[in-house]
Symmetry: D2
Subunit: 341 residues, 4 copies
């Protein structure tokens, strides 16, 4: 069985487990005040070229979205997201559970176009009845998006400028950020993201960690008593070292970037195989997720030896499936796939 | 420096880390459907002698309390807890954040007495205006309590009977459950807890895991679509194996109980030293937390070489401190303490 | 100045004020247990031909939507509404404030087509990942819709059947129900609504009352302790007589229907004038709201002597405006409009 | 039957109904922008000697408490109230429903003593673990209290100073404010309240209106977009005139104060009768609520001709009952009571 099912079916990068063992006996401070968390924060700030940043660690993506969004919004505010945004549909109503609406707008391949955002916001404020509606109070984007696509630097700057004009923060969901940064096809660096986003998170769970995301507030704008609110949401880990050690390892000797690059290299190899085998692409994705349209009969047959993710029905006889590579994908997996196809 | 500060300053029991490494390369199902989680659930049900139980894994104690309580309560219901209950004061309003009140009642050394509960509930329903108040919809107890004390089997049965009479569930917070079960001074088994409680959790974070608590619904009473609501609270781990592997290890070959016993043995040794050194006990605790009244001047001196937790001021010149042993406490730590005192 | 701005700019029907005075000196029970509320409930159940109904009074429409929806949904459920539904956009996030998502689906002139609903619900359950999404737990429709349009009896039956199949309630927002029932162009009676809807409300605020809506649960399905939850939402009036007296008056001697019919008669006269003056209709509405496309320059001029509601921009030089008649509109108002146009 | 059951069993003061009729035909702005609401606000600001105040109208007391408290608190904050505070026990968990805890502290006859508050707040901040608890973010007092007692000007000043020191607002629930202001035994004026409180409300429902409370923000501190949040809570009345007309009437020609004085005069007459008939007082109340301890057998007999409120059991054979006078109590009611007793 070959698996391209997702980027989180394997465990952690071995370097992380090794570090757990090395640090295990030490008695350290709890609730995130341990030295590994501190060290990880320092390294992340350096990697972001953003010394004034505030960094917090949380366990997972939905948790991070829910806490960041609900603590940054005022009661009368909602978050603006693409129709296809992860928070819009696939987080079990986690944002609404905190009392906030997700205002959805149109997208192109998962991306919010600056023009579209500007149109939406100016439309809102020109509506005479807008005091009877929730106010757009934040913009949520994902990078890579749910379709594996990436914003260009110019697009991020465009979104950032609009957000500044309307005085609302721009928030980036970076669940797969490493794969975006290491794409062959991007002009966006981690420092750019720290420049253009008011807050974003660096995904660990899908990029080599067992769990954990690093939230970065870039403009001295972490909500007051953020730790208390993390606890209020049930998200404060007693042993903060669990995530601290992982991110400290990932941000030592470029590991986060190297393993992300490995996934991208494998995705490019995968693409070659898919092209060679005359597969039809659903989207042109420059990251570790590749979306391919397969005939249902062929898919049925392949499934005996291949694990991929169902994405959506394309038409009555075809299905869109997702192939995901990860830091743990090996060249031999791609070879096996070539043979199989 | 000797540390008796808390039972979660160290990492995980080595057997857990070993197991992480052994299982790391396998590609397994996500979101808790992996084989380690399945195996752990089976072992926990056996340990509880409760084959009909439903078991779920969550990352931490406050998260567990918040999710269990809010999903089991109706909108018009509140949870009844002791004044000193962890949810009453020390969880940053996490229960109220979900929209539910914590109704507090009197306690004795952290324990809710059955008579007190009966008085409270009958008083509520005899109030003519009770439709203008939230209804008591669940009873929360902790075992060991926040003071290290334990319910007897008779007390648990008493509370259980009252809850049955009022048709509300009895919920036990078992953040330190292992230390309660292995106390020299208890007649309560894990099977008893499964019998008397409608839902309880087996603490991992404070008993040898890096994180994780196992919620056990004992009466075929897990809330419908509980997994969806776990996600809604931001608590669904993508790599469910993180907790699955830990509990599978803890419930293999009696490990959970053995390491808890180690902490209790060390606590009994600690008590001997404290008695020998004529320390005054604040409470008579049969578990791994020992509360001692120290003169402030002495405490100041000891702090140079000893870490303990501040509990509360006793009077103008004395302070109550907590000594906590854990699965990782060694006899030599106790010896060092004897010398120090 | 002639006003067709809305159906709630005037006070109450005079019969209501008269009744306030007649009953003012009596000392009656509070919190909705007064004899006027009781009498009004009986009359409403008769008018609905639904003796088993439970009737509750609330003060306004958004309040009613918020309370009915949040108390009928489980935590893991969301309400399905048309994109144009009042709860989707114009209630300041009141539904989300209670923790529930509004799932929006396509509509035609404000109406949810049964086929569309069926497609949506079957699509949801056929999605392999639906446990990661909130469940559709209720269907919200408005009648008349926000565009003044009406469901036919067959359409209501269709929606009702689908809801039964998926075991979720059908809820009708009847803020302007009287105007729907008295339309020249409807085959739907109040009894039909009680048959097909699991819960609905009869609007008072926009149909002759100073405030107040009557919620009707038709299937012995009022949420348990509904009164306590009304109070929890801050909506329990100490002097329940305020709404009781109003609905008792409206449902005596057919008043609710007669005054609604007056508004419809006036709307039909209004239509004649608009047609005569060659106005272009934006929608063909059979109720008291008429939507007309006016040239901006003409609108600017008319505004000096006419109050209508801005609806939306039609194109660069035209605007859609709404004319609303009400129980208090008089034939002379229509005459004045004819002269003005 | 003589009724001293409560101060809201009758309708509205006749002047209010008269004014409804006079203004009924006018077409006015909706959602609280009508001229009556504007006029009422101006008059209230004058009566408070607080020209910079912001005034808003809401329908009832629990609604007002819920909205004011939840919109003024940050997510990490709770409101401090007396154990006996209305929000602590008798509002069906309405505050917790908005996600905020009510922190209760000891009281004397319903009043929070400044010393007690200071002790509580300084205790909170001296706790090393306070970041794991919700922060006290507002102080709630009621005046008159639930026991009919009143704060002195010095006590209000004391509370106000402590709140200023801790930078949290002081909020007064004035459901029965008129009766407090017109007590024979008070040195507190409406202007004093505007000086010492950051926000308070002037009760209408229990002081002559059919419904309605006037919220007064005294320090240019109304929450941003307060109207939107009122709507979000379901509390924005389409016909704002309903409350505007009532408060405009109550604050014309001193009506609010005159009718409150009438209730106090009657309460003083009532006290005389109760003393004359050798009744035992439970509390010494200077306002319109009088609490008396009656033998159960005697109470049983009286109930045939007298309506009073059950307050609480005093002992096995005695009960505390509440007599409430109101603006509508007449001297002949007192006379009848004398004869009855």
């Amino acid at each position: 069985m070959i698996s391209f099912e997702s980027d989180y079916t394997n465990g952690a990068h071995p370097a992380i487990l090794k570090r757990f063992i090395e640090t295990n006996e030490e008695s350290v401070s709890t609730y995130g005040f341990d030295k590994y968390s501190e060290s990880a924060k320092t390294k992340i700030k350096e990697a972001c070229k953003c010394p004034e940043a505030d960094v917090y660690f949380l366990a997972g993506g939905t948790q991070t979205n829910s806490i960041v969004i609900s603590t940054m919004l005022k009661d009368y505010e909602a978050v603006v997201a693409a129709n296809t945004g992860h928070i819009s549909a696939h987080e079990a109503g986690a944002i609404e559970y905190t009392g906030h609406k997700v205002l959805t707008i149109g997208e192109e391949m998962g991306k919010i176009k600056p023009e579209e955002l500007e149109k939406y916001l100016s439309g809102f404020y020109s509506d005479e009845n807008h005091e009877h509606m929730v106010f757009p109070g934040m913009v949520y984007i994902s990078h890579p998006t749910e379709y594996g696509t990436l914003y260009s630097k110019a697009e991020l700057e465009g979104l950032s400028n609009i957000c500044k004009q309307y005085e609302i923060p721009l928030y980036m969901d970076g669940a797969r950020l490493g794969y975006g940064l290491m794409s062959y096809d991007t002009d966006v660096t981690l420092a750019d993201i720290a420049t253009y986003c008011d807050v974003f998170y660096i995904g660990g769970t899908k990029v080599g960690a067992l769990c954990g995301e690093a939230v970065v507030f870039t403009k001295d704008n972490a909500p007051k008593h953020f730790m208390t609110m993390i606890k209020q949401h049930g998200a404060l880990l007693a042993k903060g070292r669990l995530i601290g050690v992982q991110f400290d390892t990932l941000f030592t000797d470029n590991l986060y970037f190297d393993i992300s690059r490995q996934a991208i290299d494998m995705a490019e190899e995968l693409k070659k195989v898919l092209i060679e085998k005359v597969c039809r692409f659903f989207i042109d994705s420059p990251t570790n997720q590749q979306f391919v349209i397969l005939e249902d009969s062929k898919l049925g047959e392949l499934k005996k030896e291949l694990k991929v993710s169902f994405w959506e029905k394309y038409d009555d006889t075809h299905t869109v499936v997702r192939f995901a590579t990860s830091w743990s994908t090996k060249l031999e997996d791609i070879e096996k796939l070539r043979e199989l196809l």
